[in-house]
Amino acid sequence: MTDAPLLEVRNLTRRYKLPRQSLLRRSPVLTALEGAGFSLRAGETLGVVGESGSGKSTLARLIMAFERPDAGEVLFNGSDLHALSSEELRGLRRGFQMVFQDPFGSLNPRRRIGWSIAEPLRANGEETQVTYRVAEALEQVGLHPADAGKYPHEFSGGQRQRIAIARAIITKPALLVADEAVSALDVSVQAQILNLLMDLQDDLGLGMVFISHDLAVVASICDRVLVLQHGKTLESGPAADVLRAPEHPYTKTLLKAAGAHT
């Protein structure tokens, strides 16, 4: 085991141009993320919390290299994703995968789920042993290999989230980015999915960036926490410290909303 970080994010900034108010004025610019930085080792989980619009998903998209930052770096196993050619990036992609919030929206309703789960394999041109690997991924998330032949509407919300996770781990990634992956679920189902993510992390040694607006959820699964507001990092540190003694009033509000007594 080396101590080198799996993921290192340095001074990451992303600005969006908003529509022009008038022809004479310059388009206003919204800074969705400003100077974000952290590092993450294999087997570790970083929680990202913040209210709606605080920049959480923007951070996720930059880590996944779905879009480019205006400044800063994303180092995955030491290589800066945003400095690579698209060819080089494609070669690395299987190493980092994402689980989205809305499992229904991200599964093709007209395709059997086995097809959807195999999507990242096809994207990487890995065409061998597909059936076997889909079956393996389904078992890893607590579903049955035979479920590969069913359609999304035949599953409950919790099962669909398991399917989305199966799709994310099928390439055997080292890093998982989960954006509000349990937010739409009932508490009991949510607990099952959180436990599943912890199991997978233990078994596969995954590093995880876990995004949520719910601080109690984040605390249950994360080693360290990063609190965002309006794109800025308000505080970051070990989860236990941030929860025990939140420095920022905003973090206290998040704690209160999570039902904790402070």
Partner: protein, 324 residues
């Protein structure tokens, strides 16, 4: 004011709601919790006379002493918005995207109370202020898509209050909102109920929100009311195995972290998942998932057993061990 006695709703042979009993008095603040599919919305729709046509209703439902179980749509229209009003789960779907929100809010006043436009506008304005919408004058002229989720939810609350209902039903009013906004909407509903001496039925799967907003709570599972009592007491010392499971599954920051071996602590869960309506056991709906199940639970329906004044649960363990 409102009384339900053995109210059931069936789709074919499957019961979405089974023998619901409920009394709501003026000023009551009642929370209804349970996982999705437990029958919360079905119950709310029954209280509004809006259950789908395909649902077969049995039992008694009375409002202000009037029997509404067999009431016609015309009778219900009299009741709705003046006696009972509802804030729906999905704020965007409940607002007409092509109408200014002010016009939407004024409509029931013009329709049910014969107010003049000027009177209706004045009331809409004061309602917007009451529900905490800033710049109410301007907001009245806006369209739904020009507002945030939280603002839209406030408009819907104003709309529900338009004709001063005696009971306001809020179905998952905060589920689509982020934490901070949800907190403010929860507090707003609670405050409105108090200030107006209006009854509030607050439906949610967010236990923290229900704890803030209500005095009494009903826990539902598989269409049954499985536990009820004062909110604080039920949440502190749940008696039904399902309520215990639900509360236990909530992530608790105090329990989080890693154990001595460096392994992260897992969350307690309820095993399995809610079966589809037609797959629910005929006896206790929770049988099959219950960690303390008895041999006859799946076939025999537990009766509701009072455990303390105003508290009780429907579970064989309670009825058999006896309680004082």
């Amino acid at each position: 004011m409102i009384e339900l006695e053995s109210l059931s709703a069936h789709f074919g042979n499957a019961a979405a709601l089974r023998d619901a009993n409920l009394q709501i008095r003026r000023g009551d603040r009642l929370g209804i919790v349970g996982e999705s599919g437990s029958g919360k919305t079905m119950l709310a729709l029954c209280l509004m006379g809006m259950a789908p046509d395909s649902a077969h209703l049995t039992g008694r439902l009375s409002i202000d002493g009037r029997d509404m179980a067999t009431a016609t749509e015309r009778d219900w229209r009299q009741m709705r918005s003046r006696r009972v009003a509802m804030v729906f789960q999905e704020p965007m779907a409940a607002l007409n995207p092509l109408r200014r929100v002010g016009d939407t809010v004024m409509e029931p006043m013009l329709l049910h109370e014969n107010l003049s436009r000027a009177e209706a506008r004045a009331r809409a304005l004061s309602l917007f202020e009451e529900v905490g919408i800033l710049n109410p004058e301007q907001r009245l002229r806006q369209f739904p898509h020009e507002m945030s989720g939280g603002q839209r939810q406030r408009v819907l609350i104003a709309l529900a209050l338009a004709c001063n209902p005696a009971l306001l039903i809020a179905d998952e009013p905060t589920t689509a909102l982020d934490a901070n906004v949800a907190l403010r909407i929860t507090d707003l509903l609670q405050r409105l109920a108090r200030e107006r001496d209006m009854a509030l039925v607050f439906i949610s799967h967010d236990l923290a929100a229900v704890a803030r907003a209500t005095q009494e709570i009903v826990v539902m599972y598989g269409g049954d009311m499985v536990e009820r009592g004062p909110t604080a007491e039920v949440l502190a010392t749940p008696q039904h195995p399902y309520t215990k499971g639900l509360l236990g599954a909530r992530p608790d920051p105090a329990e989080a972290g890693r154990d001595a071996n460096g392994k992260r602590r897992r969350l307690p869960t309820i095993p399995g998942s809610v079966p589809p309506l037609h797959g629910l056991p005929q006896g206790c709906r929770f049988a099959g998932r219950c960690p303390v199940e008895l041999a006859h639970c799946a076939d025999q329906r537990p009766v509701f057993t009072p455990t303390e004044p105003g508290r009780g649960a429907a579970c064989h363990l309670l009825s058999e061990t006896g309680h004082d």
